[in-house]
Symmetry: D2
Subunit: 349 residues, 4 copies
């Protein structure tokens, strides 16, 4: 089969590889009907994720059809259309028992396209298939479902739930790339009174408005702190979500927050930030970090089905698997192409 | 009357001042029967707290007897023996309505010995007396009750409750000065399986043992991370409490924590710390800061009465008010004197 | 002045009474600009609330203008336009410190139109004015604000918050009178996937649809349990809200609930219900009751201002104070008149 | 092998049966080293649990040694000493993903000695062995560990955690049989200020004292409500735990509770109770029911290891498997024999 293979920093190829086979009795082999590219894949290609080694098939998001299953698979059947989640769960370890699947100690967690071969391929082996896939519900298109593989649960769990957004809150989202937009769309499920999007690119702020931000601040030329204080009688935001992954945006998030507020970090950071404890020690702030657990996936599927979450809104470009290189190119040049999420589907039939 | 007056960095005097009078109808004038000195008072004397200006009477902890009350005081009566809390609460602002009295927007918060005259005096004016004092319960000695003015609620609310200690947890407390000991004694109310005390002074670690730590680590010569990992199958502490207030101890606390754990900062910081988001972003950690609300005071009073909290254990030295200078000297030289809390009582009768 | 006075079961009169005066220093006298009638007022008139005695002015909801204040009132000024909440809070007792104002031990709680004279009058004395009124925000009409005096916080706190509605939930609301509609409108702030309204009157179910229920069941002829099970794969509703106050509807709510679900009782009950513990003991259910605290009032005001809560939707009829008897008549005959909330305003100018 | 077999209401026999074999790949066969009898077993013998049919081996608690495992078992190995929990968990269904194992939809829940053969036998087949057993920790005796199979997690999860006991609380426990004692011992992990035990048998109240109750009330001759009110300034208990399972004790628990308090029902009920909503509707009470999930088992194991939970205290009598009938007799006549938990061990060697 063909797959997108990583060959060290800066190198990848859409090339022939062996088709995957069942290794453990809880595995499923899934034919990939649709996959996508994550910002993390770009980080890997830069060489920023040392766990990913030469020869690894990338990708951790897919919707597909079950081709075969191991003898221990009980809930998934051959022929099922399923969502392949970015997080794999053994279902038995201490963290899986707590619903903290992203921290799985039993061989799961984020492994697809990282420590084992991933979903940017014609077929993928999915370990612990009973706990790591979700049946596709009737009436939900593949590309909508695909948005539940990573970006929507990440924005919802690590941004919205960790941030403990409540009705009436003023929520500041720092960064309006895809993950910031996922936080914005997820935040609305809790009816905040205002969502303030902060970014340095006007195009992304325009996107933020269409996703639901009612106040936008271009902090390359405007004062985000002043904007938030003006909305909150000088107290600060109830919740500030960091959705970039660099020190400056994290530090901004900690400035925007009111006494008693929550700073929810979603960004993937490569270096330390400064925590201004000389200001924050007495301000009753809560700061959270997190890797998605996808524990919210069943909830989000219900919300897509009931049309309360418009998952398709993220999809800006469509490709087929043989256009993988072009898909990467368009996604990597998002500033020019306006790409949010690209959907890459298998060739018909 | 006599009072301990601040006269700029490095200068204080036990001198004659005007006796306080009722200014607002919710004030009470309280005769100080017992007061104490807080580490924060030493910070003020160094000039580290600019809000405190020349002429201010210091002190924010007292047990006393009500001498007079304003016309709006309803719950406190002349002659009542009361605990004067370090935090004053207007009772009506947004934060007081939420029980977040430390962030009071209506003129309260930590004001005694800070922005208004304090308790290291023969008499003190207590604003919002109905919300800022607690009736002394029968059977509790003044010096026990005095420990509930600041140190015990601070350790309990900002360390134990913010850290969300649960039965069976492994709790690491970084710093075994008085506030670290308050966290240790408070932590036991939730039955952790282990309390690991970390400090660089053997004498303080000895105190930590008597207060309830079952593992002690002198991190001037021992490896605190290794000690915690050995107790937790390599996962890290469920809760790490920072009780010093310098960058190195905060950073240590963030290293000791397990995925999904809580870091509760109690320390008063004068400079920023480094937050290693490159390690922490994916580890599901929660970091909290806070100023005590004293919302737990009624609970802690119940626990002192039922002998589940041994408040008197903190008291190492006794003085009378006219020995204020000596009391400060003993408390400031805690490393030599072994002082934890000094109790300073009025002259008889 | 004129007021609506209760004269024993079945008797009331719009008659001349003494104008109220300041009694305690924390009182305010408020000129009533708009008031309304609650289902509880009808219960009182039937003689069901023995605490209400002959001569009492009824009513516990108002928007008005402050005429005078006691010497201890700090946050409210003469001339302020304010919301008079149905719950009065001393601000200092154990329950007020916890935000549980409805259980105030210091002389507050639900007292207006109950144990002291109420708001269906030209003027009303409001005790603890600082804690029992809210400044009218710019851009919110009196009649919108009036809906925040009781019905909206009751539906939100006792139905939605006690029921712990989460995004994606299936919520069953038993009873579609005004309080059930308040629960329906409040539930949407948490984005449930379905709201099932259950009632025996088609007209009320039509109202439920316009308020946001997407499934309606007339349980005089349809099977509510079957309808809920069909929506939930046979598990039951995540949250069931009782909004009637009779045994049959409470018992239905406990049947509709899934394992692990929440039953939130809002209804005012006059007799006991049967709790089927032989079925429920093993089903992990949580059942809550409650009197509104109005702790959510500031949040709800923000949501009205940001147009996320359409408070005006409840208002079906308008009267002036001199039409009080007609207003009562229309409200009491809601089945015929379609009345939800009637707004009664003072005579111009 | 020999096993205790149910033969319809009133009939049981310790008789020869087929030794169990692996049926599903996630099964383990466990040699029973120690088992015990639960009050529920007595209910079954009376014919009260229709799901249990003629021929069923009873018992749902054991400590044993793994004899063989299915091909899909990953965490348990032959020769391991394990705790066999009363609750079996598939690990993949909606409720197992939430940690609500008692409600497992995938074939687990309480099945041992109920819908499949149980532990009162020389060997037992344990489905979903990875999720339904726990490795025996070093230094914990079999009979201590055996107390974690059912009684201790039931008292802790359904009584203490559902009741949300907090430090300083006054906790009333209605019923001082084994499950009430488990609630009393578990409650102390949260440092309540008082534990009030209520029962009609002086012998059980004596046991309650040794387990940690500081106030005991024999409500055959004393007034439990008066006793609780005297301790709580007339407000009522913060938490009331029902540990009997009859209407009168449940109704008493709902009377003892303060406004805002929690009633946690542990009792297994065979008939409905009366819920006095005419009193309770406005009192902000929370009532919970539940079947144990054994999600707390790892925590409780840590607490037994750290000597904070004295599990052995429940063990009053010892038998060997061939004395099963005698063990049942002693346990069934607990009022005479003083039996709390009987431990039944296999014959040596």
């Amino acid at each position: 089969m063909k797959a997108l293979v990583y060959h060290g920093a800066g190198h990848k190829a859409w090339e022939d590889v062996e088709q995957p086979v069942i290794r453990d009795d809880t595995d499923a082999i899934v034919r990939v009907d649709a996959t996508t590219i994550c910002g993390t894949d770009l980080h890997i290609l830069k060489g920023d994720v040392p766990a990913v080694t030469d020869g690894r098939i990338l990708g951790h998001e897919a919707v597909g059809t079950v081709e075969s299953i191991g003898t221990g698979v009980k809930r998934v059947k051959v022929g099922d259309k399923v969502l392949v989640s970015c997080v794999t769960a053994c279902g038995s370890c201490r963290f899986c028992r707590e619903g903290r699947f992203g921290q799985c100690l039993g061989g799961g967690g984020w492994i697809l396209g990282n420590t084992i071969d991933g979903t940017q391929a014609e077929y993928v082996r999915v370990p612990f298939a009973d706990n790591s896939t979700y049946p596709a519900p009737a009436g939900v298109a593949d590309e909508e479902l695909l948005m539940l593989a990573d970006i929507l649960p990440t924005g919802y769990e690590i941004g919205v739930l960790n941030g403990r957004i409540q009705p009436g809150d003023v929520v500041a989202v720092v960064g309006s790339g895809p993950i910031g937009l996922a936080a914005i769309i997820g935040a609305q499920l809790y009816s905040p009174s205002h969502i303030v999007a902060v970014d340095q690119a006007d195009a992304r702020l325009e996107a933020a408005k269409t996703f639901g931000a009612d106040v936008v601040v271009n902090n390359s030329r405007e004062d985000a702190l002043a904007a938030v204080m003006a909305l909150t009688d000088g107290l600060g935001a109830d919740v500030a979500i960091e959705a970039v992954g660099v020190p400056a945006t994290f530090e901004l998030a900690t400035q925007l927050i009111r006494p008693g507020g929550h700073v929810a970090n979603i960004g993937v950071h490569g270096q330390p930030a400064t925590l201004h404890l000389e200001d924050l020690w007495s301000r009753d702030v809560t700061i959270t970090t997190g890797l998605v657990d996808t524990s919210s996936t069943p909830t989000l599927i219900k919300l897509v089905r009931s049309h309360q979450l418009d998952a398709a809104r993220f999809v800006t470009h469509h490709f087929t698997l043989d256009q993988m290189d072009e898909a990467y190119d368009v996604f990597a040049r998002a500033a020019d192409t306006g790409a949010l999420k690209v959907v890459i589907t298998r060739l018909e039939p």
